[in-house]
């Protein structure tokens, strides 16, 4: 008995405690911002946070809150409240739960702090536009929209001009709301830290190329929080340095996220926030490790477009060409690249009712991956926060059948 516990203890990632500490302090700071004389901005997960950091504005992420709501199993109740407010049950569950939370300070932390401003970048979807319009009317605060034209097959010159012009408008917006001048030296520092953070995050994810992978996608979903919320800060850089060191140690000692790693899989789409433990254990029980995923890589995928010495200019392209703002064929190409890099045996796709840009096109990506690499895919039909859309028995059956397919192929 004691030996099994010891092995289990060794497998646990130590950095988890530090992350919890940082996120707690972060939310406390955000909720007491007014007393500290600081401003709070609500911003979308794909939004340009660096100028906020440079202006000393505390960025708050309703989507991160949505993930917490899902993980705390408060999603269904809040979705029902949103439906009572007149919002269709077919709408994104992040939006529904956040809209329901606002008037009642709902959710696991007693609600998000009131925003002084809203920053909405539609590079992830069109839903955020509508969601932030609702919140702008509710909170009666200024709303800035960064409109990043969709890059079906490329990034046009006119789109580049348009987005770059909006970065300038964004800065003017911040100066107006914060009543102070934008520090062009500070943004260079923040830009550097942002890129360093992204490089470190990529390095952490890359350690999963090893056999066995020291971390799984389910671990990555948890450690993702800082590169999303505090990108551009020294704190995020320090944290990922620490996490990377731990991952390298685990690789050196052969400690895998999954004992007896037999099958290596790639996860596509957002997590099923209220079932991460169940899914993780389900796959692990069969020796399957999710060694890569398209979701966590989205926060270091645009590095190739951004130059440290020209941060504001290159930000435009960086924020426009993220994973969800590109064509289905380009997404398929990136999935294949990842499948190859992490040497995966199959793909697990979460067909997420709440996220059309991520889910519509999955069938074609599945087909392309099958044609080009011969890899099998399993579809998990669910929702990221609304647990009413998760059928445990159906999904269990699907996963079991998928593992059988993988088993067959290995033999």
């Amino acid at each position: 008995m004691a030996q099994i516990d010891e092995a289990k203890e060794k497998r646990k990632i130590k950095a988890v405690a530090k992350m919890k500490e940082i996120m707690t302090a972060y939310y406390i700071e955000a909720k007491t911002a007014e007393q500290a004389g600081k401003k709070v901005a609500w911003i979308t997960s794909g939004g340009p946070v660096e100028p906020l950091i440079a202006m000393d504005v505390i960025p708050v992420y309703p989507e991160n809150h949505g993930a917490m709501i899902g993980a705390s199993k408060m999603g269904v109740d809040l979705c029902e409240k949103a439906e009572a407010m007149g919002y269709s049950s077919d709408l994104c569950s992040y939006a529904r739960t956040d809209i329901a939370c606002a008037p009642i300070n709902g959710g696991p932390i007693g609600g998000l702090p009131r925003p002084d401003m809203l920053v909405c970048c539609n590079n992830i979807c069109g839903t955020v536009l509508k969601w932030y319009e609702v919140q702008a009317r509710f909170f009666q605060v200024p709303l800035f929209i960064l409109d990043t034209p969709f890059c079906h097959t490329g990034f046009s010159e006119e789109a580049r001009r348009y987005v770059r012009g909006q970065i300038t408008e964004y800065i003017a917006f911040l100066e107006n709301v914060c009543k102070k001048k934008f520090d062009t030296d500070r943004i260079m520092e923040v830009g550097k830290l942002s890129l360093e953070g992204q490089r470190l995050w990529q390095a952490v994810l890359d350690t999963a190329m090893n056999r066995p992978a020291p971390l799984s996608a389910f671990d990555a979903f948890f450690h993702l929080a800082l590169i999303v919320t505090l990108r551009g800060t020294q704190q995020a850089v320090d944290y990922y340095k620490m996490l990377l060191t731990e991952m390298r140690e685990r690789v050196a000692q052969g400690i895998g996220a999954v004992p007896n790693e037999r099958y290596r899989l790639l996860w596509d789409n957002l997590p099923v926030w209220y079932k991460t433990k169940w899914l993780s254990e389900k796959f692990a029980s069969q020796g399957a490790c999710l060694v890569a995923d398209t979701y966590t890589t989205a926060w270091c995928g645009s590095m190739r477009y951004i130059r440290e010495d020209d941060f504001l200019d290159t930000m435009a392209e960086g924020y426009s060409r993220i994973y969800l703002n590109i064509g289905v064929d380009e997404m398929a190409r990136q999935v294949i690249e990842m499948a190859d890099k992490y040497d995966v045996d199959g793909i697990v796709m979460h067909s997420n009712r709440s996220c059309k840009p991520y889910s519509l096109g999955q069938y074609d990506i599945q087909r392309i991956v099958r044609e080009k690499m011969g890899l099998p895919t399993v579809m998990i039909e669910a929702d990221m926060v609304d647990a009413r859309n998760f059928s445990e028995s159906q999904i269990e059956t699907r996963i079991d059948a998928f593992i059988e397919v993988l088993k067959e192929r290995k033999s």
Binding site: M85, Y87, D90, K130, R137, I145, R161
Partner: protein
């Protein structure tokens, strides 16, 4: 009216019409999905803009490409394309609208290979100078790309001609809608639907004349009717004045809705629909630079919820429209899985409540509810007005 019959005949089988028209006119057929598609530029190129509205058939092939949580317009359009019902199309144009159309564009590009494909990545914001400039830039690029695909450059004169034509179409539709709003009994809602829909499908030169004929005839009848006595035709047999309602939503393929409203004692006296007033609201400045003028019309016309132009634009418009048309109620028509429209309903309802205008919501997936459901609901709603 024979013009209405002409439209109805075409609408009985739009694809058959397209095939026939293509053979007769030798025009290139360009499919569109959205009222933001700049038909003027397509027409200026000598091609025929043909609006697509989903399918009337069961979804089979599209199942392999699109999950069920996607609206019937998108799934249906893909279905018709994959089955081969849209073989007559030479090309399609996808203006940026919503997330589903965005992905349909990619899936279409990868799977429907017989026609050319152009993305028109219009801005989502319509209220900044930067967005305005970008809009014009995108139209410029489109003009070049389309000209290339069709093998002929589009000149400014071509554009001016198209602008004049579309102003005629939109002007005539506006006149007809206004006449019907003043005196709902002059035309059935399903007939108005036929005229409006035909304007998105038919030979535009023919449709401009047809609509002008209808408008003039209605005006003549109206003058004659007025001479005979204004009170005479306004009350149906029961002697009770009709309850006036506005229809608000996106793509509506169901003329039966207006019929049932009429049969339960109401009249649809105006609309804010993608396939209704949004299609023809706003004329184009015939004296300005053509491309800038075209952009201007799309930037300024009644806004679609997938675009952003301030926080209360749609509510302000809806209330103004209801007051203008002396409507006492609004019926929201929602297509299941249409996110932009669904997000706006609570705030629109609230704004209408404050303005003392009643509203109700009907949601449809791909066909109207069977039996007397709708009738019962409309009866109850109209009773409250």
């Amino acid at each position: 009216m024979k013009q209405i019959d002409e439209c109805k005949e075409i609408l009985a089988d739009p694809y058959a019409y397209a095939v026939r028209f293509k053979a007769e006119s030798r025009r290139k057929m360009v499919g569109t999905f959205c009222s933001y598609a700049p038909e003027e530029i397509i027409a200026a190129a000598g091609a025929h803009p043909f609006r697509l509205f989903g399918t009337g058939e069961k979804i089979r092939l599209a199942e392999a490409h699109l999950q069920s949580y996607c609206c019937s317009l998108v799934r249906g359009a893909l279905e018709d394309a994959l089955v081969g019902r849209l073989a007559f199309l030479d090309g399609v144009v996808f203006p940026h609208t919503c997330d589903s159309i965005q992905r349909l564009s990619d899936i279409w590009r990868l799977n429907v290979r017989h026609c050319f494909h152009i993305d028109l990545i219009l801005p989502v914001k319509l209220d900044t100078p930067g967005a305005r400039q970008y809009f014009v830039d995108v139209l410029n690029r489109f003009r070049g790309e389309l000209g290339e695909k069709l093998g002929a450059a589009i000149t400014d004169d071509d554009l001016r001609g198209a602008i004049v034509l579309y102003n005629r179409i939109r002007g005539a539709l506006t006149r007809i809608y206004d006449l019907k709003s003043d005196r709902p009994e002059i035309m059935k809602g399903s007939d108005l639907y036929a005229l409006t829909r035909a304007a998105m499908i038919m030979d535009r030169t023919r449709v401009a004349s047809l609509l002008e004929e209808v408008a003039s005839e209605l005006e003549r009848n109206g003058a004659a009717g007025a001479a005979a006595g204004p009170e005479k035709e306004e009350r149906p047999v029961s002697g009770v004045p009709k309850k006036r309602v506005i229809l608000s939503g996106g793509v509506c393929n169901y003329p039966d809705i207006t019929t049932i409203v009429e049969e339960t004692g109401g009249a649809v006296v105006g609309d804010d629909l993608c396939t209704g007033a949004r299609y023809f609201s706003g004329l184009i400045d015939e004296n300005a630079d053509p491309l800038t003028a075209i952009a201007g019309r799309y930037l300024e016309r009644v806004v679609c919820p997938a675009k952003h132009r301030g926080l209360t634009d749609r509510a302000d418009h809806l209330i103004r429209l209801a007051r203008d048309k002396k409507a006492q109620g609004v019926i929201f028509f929602l297509l299941k899985f249409c996110d932009p429209h669904a997000f706006d309903v609570p705030y629109l309802k609230e704004a209408l409540d404050r303005a003392g205008i009643l509203s109700m919501v009907i949601e449809v997936e791909d066909r109207l509810p069977a039996g007397g459901q709708l009738r019962t609901r409309f009866e109850a709603f109209l009773e409250m007005i």
